[in-house]
């Protein structure tokens, strides 16, 4: 892993929200790197802070603490024009395809918006870039360029969103549940398109989703979050075969496979995640973990490497039991 160049370095990222006088710790100290050209999948259940993490990286949500270094530049201390400029290297695609596009603007203007903001291309050059981008994502610009965004269906809107996000030639793309609102057949089209564009444009991806199968399909490495903390991070194939964190194991066994012969694990995780207003002491998963001991309540497990490139935050990682 050391020979790869780190594109995004996240250290001690924290995001706190104030809610009715109380502090909700949505993201509680995340450390991870994303290497150039890879796809890191980020999974977890709702409320685990995965979307907030993505938004904090883009600084649409202000991080309470921590540093974000993108391509050698520290983002958290930036302000104003510098931040706006630097942030174009990283783009984000949102979950709701319809709401991502201004219903009152024309498709070609939406895709050209980043170019217009920066005046980076004008006239014929601008039109050519927009034409190419729309063509590339499968929306015929000659026919549909002048249409309003509100006339398109979810899958098409997501294609247009992708085209827009590529206009400034970003290095990195953050995909926040970008296919979860789409039908299976459309979802597959978008996932394949994303894989192709990643190659063509040399993109690095952070792919945030709750669907484990979708995440595995696109990711080189996967990180699992629970209640604002990272449980486990490692190569996706390895981690799906031999999860080290009990939570990852339960998540995987709860995932439904479209195969009547798939092993239906009866070990379903009981209970629900506790409130982030009042997280449990020590390991945040301990209240639902069948293996929890007193140590788990008193001491917070730190993310430690079990095998090269595979780290887990658990006092009793499962791989050691297996070995």
């Amino acid at each position: 892993m050391s020979n790869k160049k780190v594109l995004l370095e996240v250290r001690n990222l924290e995001v706190n929200f104030k809610k009715a006088g109380q502090v909700v710790s949505a993201v509680a100290g995340l450390n991870f790197d994303i290497y150039e050209g890879e796809t890191l999948g980020l999974v977890g259940e709702s409320g685990c802070g995965k979307s907030t993490t993505g938004r904090a990286l883009m600084r649409i949500v202000e991080p309470t603490n921590g540093t974000i270094v993108l391509d050698g530049k520290e983002l958290t201390s930036m302000k104003g024009r510098e931040l706006r400029q630097e942030r174009t290297k990283m783009q984000m695609i949102f979950q709701d395809p319809i709401s991502s596009l201004n219903p009152r603007r024309r498709v070609k203007d939406i895709v050209a918006e980043p170019l217009d903001c920066w005046g980076s291309a004008e006239g014929d050059e601008r039109d050519r870039i927009v034409f190419d981008l729309l063509n590339r994502v499968g929306i015929d610009p000659a026919i549909y360029g002048n249409r309003y965004a509100r006339q398109f269906s979810g899958g098409q809107c997501q294609r247009i969103s992708i085209a827009r996000s590529l206009a400034m030639r970003p290095k990195m793309l953050i995909c926040d549940e970008m296919v979860s609102a789409l039908d299976v057949s459309i979802q597959a089209q978008i996932l394949n398109l994303l894989e192709d564009l990643k190659e063509e444009y040399g993109l690095t991806l952070l792919f945030i989703a709750h669907d484990l199968a979708v995440v595995k399909n696109v990711s080189d490495r996967v990180a699992v979050m629970y209640l604002g903390k990272m449980c486990e991070i490692g190569p996706s194939d390895l981690m799906y075969d031999a999860p080290a964190h009990p939570y990852t194991k339960f998540l995987l066994s709860a995932a439904l496979e479209a195969n009547p012969d798939s092993i239906q694990d009866n070990e379903v995780l009981s209970g629900e995640p506790p409130s982030p207003l009042n997280p449990p002491s020590g390991c945040r998963f301990r209240t639902r973990c069948p293996f929890a001991t007193e140590l788990c309540a008193s001491q917070e497990p730190l993310l430690t490497e079990v095998t090269p490139g595979h780290s887990v935050a658990c006092h009793y990682p499962l791989t050691t039991v297996k070995a």
Binding site: H210, N217, V218, A254, L256, N259, P260, S262, V268
Partner: protein
């Protein structure tokens, strides 16, 4: 399987009359459901699965809808039944669980009251009896400290707990058929597994039939006896769950299966996609609705809609002019050989 069917749907059509014209949301659907069965109805958005389940419940609005065919539920005809007739069936013979538990619960009424109210109205229970039974129901659906939660408002519960309450209300009058329309779609995976297990458990405990409507093949794969696959308002394939997964004949069923990412496949497995998108129901021509997206389509497919034909004597039906050969399901290849999908680059 020997028991007589409790639900018989015959040539059911639901057509909405809208500003744009006639929208045939359900176009001639026939099937039967036995008393102890779990039936999965699978389809993408616009396939008519939700409209079908609402029509079976008799929940379609009276205006701007044309209904045709028949739905016989335990001897009652649902199509064109009056609201009063339906009210005697709802709850006691058929109940429904909707996708969004927040909108199916009344936010300003405690959950206990919502359950006991339906018990008192439907079954004429006394206030005290209804409360006891309501708490029993809350326990039955696995709500911890049910006595305290009895006085909770829906907003005080998590999504999973709310869905449990909705199920408790649905079960309150011991229906013989439970219709669950995307019951786990908004929920997290671990909660989804809990709810699906709960429905399965309650089904055998309460001896009812279940119809599970979903877009997710994973939800129906291991929990149903039979599956209906819908496309553009019609049944395109129907049969025992194993037949549909392993011996499907309709290319759409195959395509749906192939485009679903699987946890068991290695990462970066190329997904085989269906080009295009579901048809515009306003502009259906005479042919097979899937033909424009189908790799096997011929002129016949484009001109003439195929009707359901038998694949085997076990009730496996499909609607296709050029059916796939038996036993070529991607699942078969996966189980026998090395994973084959990895190199399926187009």
């Amino acid at each position: 399987m020997s028991s007589s069917p409790i639900l018989v749907v015959k040539n059911l059509t639901t057509t909405f009359i809208t500003g744009r014209g006639r929208l045939p949301a359900v176009g001639g659907v026939s099937f039967e459901l036995n008393a102890d069965e779990t039936l999965g109805i699978v389809g993408e958005s616009g396939s008519g699965k939700t409209v079908l389940s609402r029509t079976i419940m008799g929940l379609q609005p009276r205006s701007n809808v044309e209904l045709g065919g028949s739905v016989q539920l335990l001897g009652h005809e649902i199509v064109h039944a009056s609201e009063d007739e339906l009210r005697t069936i709802w709850g006691t013979e058929v109940s429904m669980v909707f996708q969004d538990p927040m909108t199916s619960l009344n936010p300003v009424m405690t959950i206990g009251k919502q359950i006991s109210e339906s018990l008192r109205v439907r079954l004429g229970m006394s206030k005290a009896d209804a409360k006891v039974r309501a708490i029993d129901l809350l326990k039955l659906v696995g709500i911890p400290s049910a006595e305290e939660r009895y006085d909770a408002y829906p907003t005080q519960l998590s999504g999973g707990m709310r869905q449990r309450v909705v199920i408790a209300i649905a079960l309150s009058c011991s229906p013989q058929l439970l219709l669950a329309d995307e019951p786990t779609t908004g929920l997290d995976v671990t909660i989804q597994a809990q709810i699906l297990n709960l429905i399965e458990e309650l089904k055998s405990k309460e001896k009812m039939a279940v119809i599970l409507v979903t877009h997710d093949l994973g939800v129906v794969a291991t929990r149903t006896d039979r599956i209906i696959v819908m496309y553009a308002g019609r049944i395109v394939e129907m049969g025992r769950t194993r037949d549909v997964f392993f011996n499907h004949r309709m290319p759409y069923t195959r395509a749906l299966l192939e485009s679903t990412p699987k946890v068991s496949n290695p990462s970066h497995t190329r997904l085989i996609t269906i080009p295009g998108r579901p048809p515009d129901l306003y502009n259906l021509d005479g042919g097979c609705a899937f033909a424009p997206r189908c790799a096997y389509a011929t002129d016949q497919c484009r001109q003439e809609a195929p009707s359901l034909q038998e694949a085997n004597s076990d009730g496996h039906l499909f609607a296709c002019w050029n059916p796939l050969p038996v036993g070529t399901s991607p699942l078969n290849q996966q189980n026998s050989n090395e994973p084959n999908g990895a190199s399926n680059e187009q």
